[in-house]
């Protein structure tokens, strides 16, 4: 009897009032929780982005703030797309992205595949292998300059010891042919563990019963690898490739410290060109236009990434 009365009272109480008694409504709370983040991103990311878009149509120079700013229309964009140096920088970037990803994927997957044999102590050695990727690319990259020094550097010494080339001739950073590879080697050293870790997760996600079934069907190890292991780990490999691709497209730290874009402009990737134009030549309008073009390119990649991510999640 008493219960029914309480029920009736509860039913008679209007919905919004019930919510107010409990504090802020859920909808209000959701916005209260989310809006600070959105506001911060609007202030630090979106507002500057729109500023950069505005500047990209002008001849503004940050070192001469009092000059009259002229509207140039699309002149900056036209000049960039016709600029030989920009295209060379894009090719250099593509060269880096291609080789670092190829090396890191092949080595990283192989390492993951070996670790998945679960030999004794594999967890410990996996942790050791993972260390380089957590370190500051700038601080460690800077130290590689020392390892690459001709004669006194450890890397040059080992190379000359193994190959017999005189130690003073192993010039990794000042040689036009070798400088891009010097950077590719450091990047591969640092980020192969990253690809390895993601591949390892992929390999471990393959259920054992599939292999058991293949074993019953007498599929060879070779066949099992190509028909089970690789296809099932592929979404993970793709994820690693996309992450690395986007990161290496932005590559700046290591190049800036190892070669600074040199010798000449042989290692001048897009980020280095951007830095030279924006913070050394102070062509702010022009470099903003280049930055916008890079935005658009990276945004394309970001979209591919999200699509791939969703595909992985659907499995």
């Amino acid at each position: 009897m008493l219960n029914r009365t309480a029920d009736n009272v509860a039913r008679a109480t209007p919905e919004p009032l019930a919510k107010k008694i409990r504090g802020i409504s859920d909808k209000g709370l959701a916005w209260l929780f989310i809006s600070p983040t959105i506001l911060l991103l609007l202030a630090i990311n979106i507002f500057p982005l729109f500023w950069a878009i505005y500047l990209s149509f002008t001849n503004y120079r940050a070192n001469r703030p009092n000059d009259v700013v002229k509207n140039l229309g699309f002149a900056n964009y036209k000049r960039i797309l016709g600029d030989q140096d920009i295209w060379i920088a894009m090719q250099t970037t593509a060269h880096f992205v291609f080789w670092t990803i190829l090396l890191q994927t092949v080595i990283g997957f192989t390492l993951a595949w070996l670790i998945d044999r679960k030999f004794r102590g594999h967890a410990f050695w996996t942790t050791i292998i993972l260390v380089p990727m957590m370190l500051s690319p700038a601080v460690v990259g800077n130290f590689w300059r020392f390892l690459y020094e001709p004669q006194i550097g450890l890397f040059s010494y080992v190379v000359s010891f193994v190959t017999g080339i005189p130690p003073t001739n192993v010039q990794m950073l000042s040689n036009v042919e070798m400088a891009p590879w010097a950077i590719i080697i450091v990047d591969t050293w640092m980020w192969t563990p990253y690809v390895m870790l993601i591949c390892l997760a992929g390999l471990r996600s393959i259920p054992e019963y599939i292999y058991e079934a293949a074993e019953v069907d007498r599929a060879s190890n070779w066949r099992q690898f190509w028909s089970i292991t690789l296809p099932m780990a592929l979404p993970f490999i793709m994820l690693a490739v996309l992450f690395r691709g986007i990161e290496n497209f932005k590559m700046f730290d290591m190049v800036n410290l190892l070669t600074g874009g040199g010798p000449g402009s042989t290692t001048e990737v897009a980020s280095i060109t951007l830095k030279r134009q924006a913070f050394e030549s102070w062509r702010t309008g022009y470099s903003s236009a280049f930055a916008i073009i890079l935005f658009v390119a990276v945004f394309g990649l970001a979209n591919i990434y999200v699509k791939a991510l969703n595909k992985v999640k659907q499995r």
Binding site: I34, L41, F119, S136, V139
Partner: protein
């Protein structure tokens, strides 16, 4: 390859394990050599560090650490003899090279800047990230997927491209070369990681806990505070360490937007020079001090590493 063995038919043979183990250990040892070399170089004297062939066995010295923390001037032996006895180990070490300590170097203030900026931005990013992640996880937010993608997309812009307008904006509002400016910037970069990671962690906490708490008379806010937050501690800690590592390691923004008072350690360490070029033992000493915290964190984090580096896309 008999089916009668006790263990699983697909378990690798002991031979395969041996070969795999050997290759992995060899790779691990080779990949760790540059780090061991940094550590070793930090205890070499400058002449030992540039000896040919590179010295593996050497007399350890703390000269690198002394040079890292001090600035020195060259003096005549007569002047040095006229001084009293050396006041400390470093004093004695530099006097052997006809130098006297002139004062502290900039390393310590730069290191402190790194600490302030890394911890400050981590706190802000995790605070904002936890709130947003809870919002996205528990409520129907209109355009949630678009907002989440927007939050993530800010991470895909090349830092130099972001730095141009930030440089101009900070110059206008007086945030150039300030710790506050760097904290705001790193918070904005890290909050995307924090939201994505924490949303994953909070999604895993059953809603039933809060619902039970709310039936017991808690408000939504109290339920969040008393039941969700304690459950999410591990996730929040892991996220905080990832944010900390990013802010600690960051170089591009720091190099372009700070020059003096707010400069962090990564752009400073490469500029440590001695007489006639880079003072490698001092650089190695600075690098060692800078890397040790990250090594400790990496070991603490190893179970969450995968999740962190993929923005929560792979959870294992």
């Amino acid at each position: 390859m008999s089916l009668t063995t006790a263990h699983s038919v697909v378990a690798p043979s002991s031979n395969a394990k041996l070969i795999a183990g050997t290759i992995i250990i060899a790779y691990a040892l080779i990949s760790i050599v540059p780090l061991l070399w940094i550590f070793a170089t930090s205890f070499k004297t400058p002449p030992d560090s540039i000896a040919y062939p590179p010295k593996i066995v050497f007399q350890p010295s703390i000269e690198g650490y002394c040079n890292l923390f001090t600035t020195r001037t060259r003096q005549t032996p007569e002047y040095i003899n006229s001084l009293g006895p050396a006041t400390g180990v470093c004093d004695a070490t530099v006097r052997k090279r006809n130098m006297v300590i002139a004062g502290p170097s900039n390393f310590l203030p730069r290191f402190v800047n790194s600490l302030i900026i890394a911890f400050g931005s981590t706190f802000c990013a995790v605070f904002l990230g936890t709130l947003s992640a809870y919002g996205f996880s528990r409520f129907k937010v209109p355009l949630a997927d678009d907002l989440l993608f927007f939050i993530l997309s800010t991470r895909f812009m090349p830092p130099i491209a972001v730095a141009i307008p930030i440089y101009l904006m900070y110059r206008e509002i007086g945030l150039s070369d300030t710790a506050l400016g760097m904290i705001l910037l790193y918070t904005a970069v890290n909050v995307s990681l924090a939201v994505w990671l924490l949303k994953g962690f909070i999604d895993e906490i059953p809603r039933e806990y809060e619902e039970a708490a709310m039936i017991d008379g808690y408000t939504r806010l109290q339920a969040f505070w008393r039941t969700v937050l304690p459950q999410a501690t591990t996730g929040i800690a892991a996220t905080a360490i990832f944010c900390l590592i990013f802010a600690w390691n960051e170089y591009a923004f720091a190099a372009l937007l700070t020059s003096g008072t707010a400069q962090t350690a990564p752009p400073f360490i490469p500029t440590i020079i001695g007489e006639g070029g880079q003072d490698w033992p001092a650089v190695a000493a600075g690098t060692t001090i800078f890397l040790v915290p990250i090594l400790v964190f990496t070991i603490l984090l190893r179970k969450q590493l995968l999740r962190g580096i993929t923005f929560g896309a792979v959870r294992k």
